[in-house]
């Protein structure tokens, strides 16, 4: 099983398949918008769905290394960069949906909104923090800054995970409705906890 998975993951089709799977949610949302299938408030549905998919993509990219180590399916490592870029892709769509549907692209209003509302500020900070990670995701960038420093920089992903959960938690706080927040927080805690545990064991 492990051998088969590894062989498949190192094949030429693995990445294109991973790409198509990662794009499916957005294709589904676009179809939903065109076919008027997003419910009574399609704008809200788009903002929420892109936020949900950002969190899911974040869980997926942070699961790659633990899964690889635990299962021995080393080929998973090849998928990590694309998975990371999809976090940024969905985060960008989420920000775009908010700026467009919620704020009508009024830049001064958006700036005021970010300054005024802590949960928007936290979400926006997570996006800002993700940007250098996305920009340095190609091989030459790694060489240019040095592998070690690149690695330190990309640990900011853990910070992004924390901010994203805080953003979601705050969004739901007024209505005391934390069931979904708890699910993402639990998954991310396990993934970050696993790393912490390993670090402690190694030292």
């Amino acid at each position: 099983m492990r051998v088969m998975l590894n062989r498949w993951l190192s094949s030429a089709v693995a990445k294109p398949v991973w790409f198509v799977v990662s794009v499916l949610p957005v294709a589904w949302l676009v179809w939903g918008a065109v076919a008027d299938q997003l419910g009574a408030n399609p704008a809200e549905a788009l903002v929420r769905a892109t936020g949900d998919w950002t969190l899911r993509a974040l869980c997926i990219v942070l699961a790659v290394t633990p899964l690889r180590t635990v299962s021995g399916v080393t080929g998973l490592a090849r998928m990590r960069r694309m998975a990371g870029l999809f976090v940024y892709f969905y985060a960008s769509l989420h920000l775009l949906a908010y700026a467009w549907f919620d704020m009508g692209f009024e830049l001064p209003d958006i700036a005021k909104d970010i300054a005024k509302r802590p949960f928007i500020l936290v979400g926006f900070s997570a996006f800002v923090l993700l940007t250098p990670l996305a920009l340095t995701s190609f091989n030459r960038a790694i060489k240019a800054i040095g592998a070690r420093r690149w690695q330190v920089l990309h640990r900011a992903a853990y910070c992004v995970a924390g901010l994203a959960i805080l953003h979601f938690f705050w969004m739901r706080a007024g209505k005391n409705n934390f069931a979904e927040v708890a699910v993402y927080a639990a998954v991310l805690s396990v993934l970050l906890g696993w790393r912490l545990l390993r670090r402690l064991q190694q030292s």
Binding site: G39, N41, E44, W100, D102, G104, R117, F119, N176
Partner: protein, 334 residues
């Protein structure tokens, strides 16, 4: 990319494009008449309702019992704005007893048993008692009122409600001079309401109004919408509607109305006092701590890329209700 909703034909830029209600109603009468001529009187009302259901207010109508109404003469009771399609008004609801997602109530509220139903009226009144729903329905003629509904979450609808001014009931029970507030208690039945028992709110759902707010002719004791009895997810069989306040002030599925001296605790105020005040008048100048209240999205009407519309003071009912709050600091009493 231009995404058109199926309701584009109803986007009226100028008021003159809107069919006056009298003509609209006459068309319905004509339709009824034609149906009567063609198919006999027995079939007529059915045909008219089907045609009606398929036309302006959208599908899924015609499944619940119809209610006979007269047009309201209360000032401000009949906005001429385009009515929200029935499928949106009945499919996009906050009714946390049946779930927190806005599609949950429509999916889960079928378990609610609305008959028999009684409303207990008690407290500082001369004539306390229990009212059977049938008696409440006969207490005063039912009127159709087309109100804007503004949710605290920043969306709005236009809904043709059916009911009569709550003041009709209040006069019948004769409040004592000491009664200053009216409290509305909703049903909290864990057997039929799956989320009663969750810790989201302090059940039963409770809401309240100052007595003069409750006596205002626009405050509606509501039994139906879109020509029919209320669907369960909209607060069947009887609810309040207070059009100049955020939607959550209008308690659903009411089982008790209590007249009290002190301002009653209300469900959302108890859950998050800094976000949901007792008054909760629609007010574009007082923001919710986590979002602006200056604008709103009209459900089912504005296209996906349309700008949100500006929220009106007191949801556009300032001329009717502004004097209730004369001299009050609405930033403090939000």
């Amino acid at each position: 990319m231009l995404i058109k909703s199926q309701d584009n034909g109803f986007n009226h830029l100028v008021a003159s494009e809107i069919t006056p209600q009298a003509i609209y109603t006459r068309r319905r009468e004509l339709l009824k008449g034609a149906a009567a001529w063609a198919a006999g009187a027995g079939l007529a009302s059915w045909t008219a309702r089907e045609a009606f259901a398929d036309s302006a207010w959208g599908s899924r109508l015609g499944k619940l019992a119809a209610l006979n109404t007269q047009a309201s003469k209360v000032e401000g009771a009949l906005t001429m704005e385009k009515v929200t399609p029935y499928k949106d008004a009945s499919g996009y609801n906050n009714f946390y007893e049946f779930g927190t997602d806005k599609s949950d109530p429509a999916a889960n509220a079928h378990t609610l048993k609305t008959s028999p139903w009684t409303v207990e009226v008690e407290g500082l009144i001369k004539k306390p008692g229990k009212f059977a729903l049938e008696d409440l329905l006969k207490l005063s003629p039912l009127e159709e009122r087309i109100y804007r509904l503004r949710c605290v979450e920043g969306w709005s609808m236009v809904i043709p409600w059916i009911g009569y001014s709550l003041s009709e009931l209040i006069r019948k029970v004769e409040p004592l001079g000491s009664a200053k507030y009216v409290e509305f208690i909703s049903l909290a039945d864990p057997k039929t309401m799956p989320f009663v028992g969750s810790r989201i709110l302090d059940w039963p759902y409770a809401e309240g109004l100052r007595l003069d707010e409750a006596m205002h002719p626009l405050t509606l004791l509501t039994f139906g919408m879109y020509g029919e009895v209320l669907p369960n997810q909209s607060g069947a069989p009887v609810r309040a509607v207070v059009p100049w306040k955020y939607g959550f002030k209008s308690g659903k599925s009411i089982v008790k109305i209590r007249f009290v001296e002190k301002q009653p605790g209300t469900a959302w105020n108890k859950a998050a006092a800094n976000e949901y005040g007792f008054y909760s008048n629609v007010n574009p100048t007082v923001d919710h701590p986590r979002w602006s209240q200056a604008t709103e999205r009209r459900i089912g009407e504005d296209g996906l890329f349309a700008k949100k519309r500006k929220t009106l003071m007191f949801n556009g009912y300032e001329a009717q209700v502004g004097q209730l709050y004369a001299g009050m600091d609405l930033k403090k009493y939000y």
